[in-house]
Symmetry: D2
């Protein structure tokens, strides 16, 4: 008994990835793919994928024909589309930041006035492994950011366990260029990225900071500060986060690994690696998995964690389908293995 | 009045880069290029560079014809060649680790029994900007490691100033693949590196750790611990180090920048960038410069530094020639601008 | 009703790709994966793929447990394994060159003495779209070379139609680095391939030449000479062949396109593109499709064809499974969509 | 006795490369760098190069202060700037196509109405090795296209010798992405180019075709047709052209090589390689050299040539300075070795 999903903003990288996952999904069918700039044109004009789709203008998107809508629209726009889609009776998975921050002033400080603050209380933060039950019954799911997913999955068991000693966590993340979006700019020109590597939004300036701090503080039951430095890699896909934190002195890499194995036992998309074998991007690219390992630094209690995921899959569209699967009654792994 | 330099281990990436610099040098001429594996063969069989050189076996290298010898040989071998070259009356710049660590037990713990410990007291650590006077009169210079150069130049002014609050420094470094050496292995296969990114020797395991700790502790006048995580980038050349440290609360990024501008005023190879414009690899690749910027993290006194250099130039052969220029009486910038 | 397949030579790139396809296949299960160098070790020690496999030594491979064996062994070795596997009652798909050339002297001129010439008459050349019926009943299938597949599919309809005017065809091919094999050598070192591009085995020297000439001559019913120049691309996967040929003057790009659409109507893995939109590698990488387009050159009858495929899928393991599907009674597309 | 050069269109890749060459030139100094979009801004805002330059608006460019002006402006604009610069008493090297085609109707068929046809008779085609004497006395030099340079240097000695048998030449060229220009577009987005490879303007459609045919026909003394297929490589710089042609049957690769060695004896920027060692991009990138080799194809008289150059150096700004050196009385190699 199939379900139908629509995509708003289908020509970005997340929309493209959703199309590809839905194409492999045993129960989900495409209701529509909407694009502002390419309405009326075939998808093959934008990407070389063999997808047979003529895009519609967002205004003309037949929301009523979809059971669920994926919003791949920019923040601000997403909240407005969420209102319309919910009104049309659709469930919604929003891949933008519009419903990730529970605190309205925080959202408005980092982004802009919120177009639909009345929906904030209802929105469920869809980090599937950690909020599965809430996602299952949700009308509106806020799909987590790519960087936060790479940080929250490894840290939640530790912070919930009260292991963190002091509030400071340092996250040094490196992302592939698909994370910078499909718009052609000087920064995404091949000649700027290829054979190069750069840092940006260093320290505490990236918009994923408040999202990480919100969730980590909730895990820890106390405010947690995240020092965050993203970098741009000359690769297509993937995030590798190197995370430094201080735990009580009795914590070793081995104990962290054991805690993870326990916390994520049976999870199909969480791969705990041995200390000596930190995962590389190649471990996870084009999969919905996150892989992680813990190491030591010579300072008792200081732990260095490496986590990797594909920013377009577990960091965006894969997790979005994982959430949609729960919302629509499919097996959580449908379309994702 | 020209001088002549020989290169032992000319077919590695550092040797190749030296050849190229010497080719542009107004006063330095090549005495010989020695290679174990390619003796008797033309250099063009190894690299596509238009260099007219027939390599000699190391045993046959005419040491006596050289004023100075660059050792691009592996640690262990370098120390033995240093003895021979000094005996032959040459000055020596060693690009291996053999003379970087002043403490014999430390060397032997991280490497192997030292073949020439009697030379350790004489060897000068050639981080040119900081040890210029000692280099000028030296017979034997230990050329610094690539990662340490990227860390010591930005940190020396701060640590000498007593700014460091607590002993912990975190260095998250990313290096191009030339840093992994010219030997073909599974790890350096194009298919392993391309479109990938990985961490290795995490925490406190890389052999450049004791070198960094030795120098930083000397600057600070007290033991400094370095948590160090190197990563492998899918680019040819360049190191970007992201460095996290705690200073007294009164320190801001602006004050760090001002201190650097003062400390490195007039230095042709040190480029201090504004906080808001962290340098990328493209700022320094194929130059002998190191570029760096300081930023803040939202925690008073916590500073994040980004430094970049070309691992084969300022991180190896460029700095080696910078040192040789001083040793031989050339202008420090000869061949390097 | 499942079938079981074994892989000999599972740690090359073709073996790795087979593992991945078999993992998605609805009816095919892995009987064993054999490796000379890694016997007894887990596959995860060689590649980052999440495959749970302990490799066996080829000698210990339980051939009797497999319905079909894929030979990813080098030429020479493959023929010997084919004998053993057939004796054990397996069907065989050989991905090496051992059974591609029907003429023994030609094989021995380009390769070496043939270890099992008695099997040559039985072997079926498995260019699936063109030899489907013979593959269906075969015990032993010679899987075509990657370059030849990119040339034969576009040219067969033309040559069978007698369109070729004169015997000369020029094939200028560009292949990703996976085509150069998994052995680490100076040529496959990241530093040799990255940001570089080179030609090799120019003119008429590559071992895929006799394979192309054999098949093209059979299509044309007369000897066809192929001028062939392969090049090495700094990409992971994919072949793009630019093919120049002279047809009778009445042939236009449009007519070629129409002939192809007719010849390959309904073929799931052949994608005919319009003249104005030549396919790029991105059209086919990670798929079992070949895509192609025809254009004109200003000289009446001279046609330029661009064809693309993934050298590890349609050019090797994908086509191998396509053949195996027919041999074992599966749907031809099983595991490949 | 120094000279001063101005650059119009300094923020494109050719302008950037000119800046870098002039920075190394012993006698040439920068008079101004003009940019439409970045007037009043520092060059460091556009590129990470350590160049101290504030750009001027083209209208405000102090033409009178320059002895020579390099035009890195688009075709159409270049011709208009040439008029102004000549009027101001400057010599001019135009890197656009405006003065490459001697025949006005041909120019207007491939481009647009010509803004200054009266200058066509005076313009000298600056393929330096072949038109050295004319360049020396020229006021206005048309710098050749990147692809044509890679084709004309290897073919001129053969065609002048009457060796070509029949009019057809096939040129299969592959260019790095800097050749596609600095404007950010979907086609130059990192995600479109990286790990990809594509053909464009196939057959006879690229604007460099009439330039090649004009020169080759002049060498041969008869019309020569060029079938030309350019491709886009995922590398920063470099063109590799694989050229197929039929000579009289007595011609071998060895004889072609001998002819070249003779024709280009003593040329500092032409490197003739042995048949067995076709040059790769790495042989010439970041140099002003062109390297080339000849091979055979099994068909008597059919020759396959591989030529390589850096599209931004010998293919643009290097050759422009080589021409300017002659025009201004410098040594031809000044700034280029």
């Amino acid at each position: 008994m199939g379900k139908r999903a629509g995509i708003l903003g289908v020509t970005g990288f997340a929309g493209r990835e959703l199309l590809s996952i839905i194409g492999r999904h045993p129960g989900l069918e495409l209701a529509f793919g909407a694009s502002e700039s390419y309405a009326g044109k075939p998808f093959s004009q934008v990407y070389p994928d063999p997808v047979d789709l003529t895009m519609v203008a967002p205004d003309k998107a037949p929301l009523a024909e979809a059971d669920l809508v994926f919003l791949c629209t920019p923040h601000g726009a997403s909240a407005q589309w969420a209102v319309k889609a919910l009104d049309a009776g659709c469930q919604v998975v929003d891949l933008s930041a519009d419903f990730r921050l529970r605190d309205l002033p925080t959202y408005e400080r980092w982004y802009a006035p919120h177009p639909a603050p009345h929906l904030l209380p209802e929105a469920v933060y869809g980090l599937t492994e950690l909020t599965r039950d809430a996602v299952r019954g949700a009308r509106l799911v806020a799909n987590p950011g790519c960087y936060p997913t790479s940080v929250l999955i490894p840290l939640q068991p530790l912070l919930s366990d009260g292991a963190l000693d002091g509030a400071g966590i340092i996250v040094d993340s490196k992302s592939g260029t698909s994370g910078a979006g499909a718009s052609p700019t000087t920064k995404t020109h091949f000649m700027s990225v290829h054979d190069n590597f750069s840092a940006y939004a260093l320290g505490h300036a990236h918009r994923h900071v408040p999202e990480m701090e919100q969730e980590l503080s909730a895990y820890a039951g106390a405010p947690v500060h995240v020092t965050f430095s993203p970098h741009l890699l000359p690769v297509a896909r993937g995030i590798l986060s190197t995370i430094y934190l201080h735990l009580a002195e009795s914590w070793t890499a081995e104990r962290v690994t054991a805690l993870w194995r326990d916390a994520y036992r049976g999870e199909p998309f969480v791969q705990v690696m041995p200390s000596a074998e930190p995962p590389s991007l190649a471990h996870v690219v084009r999969s919905n998995r996150i892989a992680m390992s813990a190491g030591e630094t010579g300072i008792p209690g200081q732990i260095v964690i490496v986590s990797v995921l594909d920013n377009l899959v577990k960091g965006a569209s894969g997790q979005a389908v994982q959430n949609a699967n729960l919302m629509l009654g499919f097996a959580e792994t449908d379309g994702l293995l």
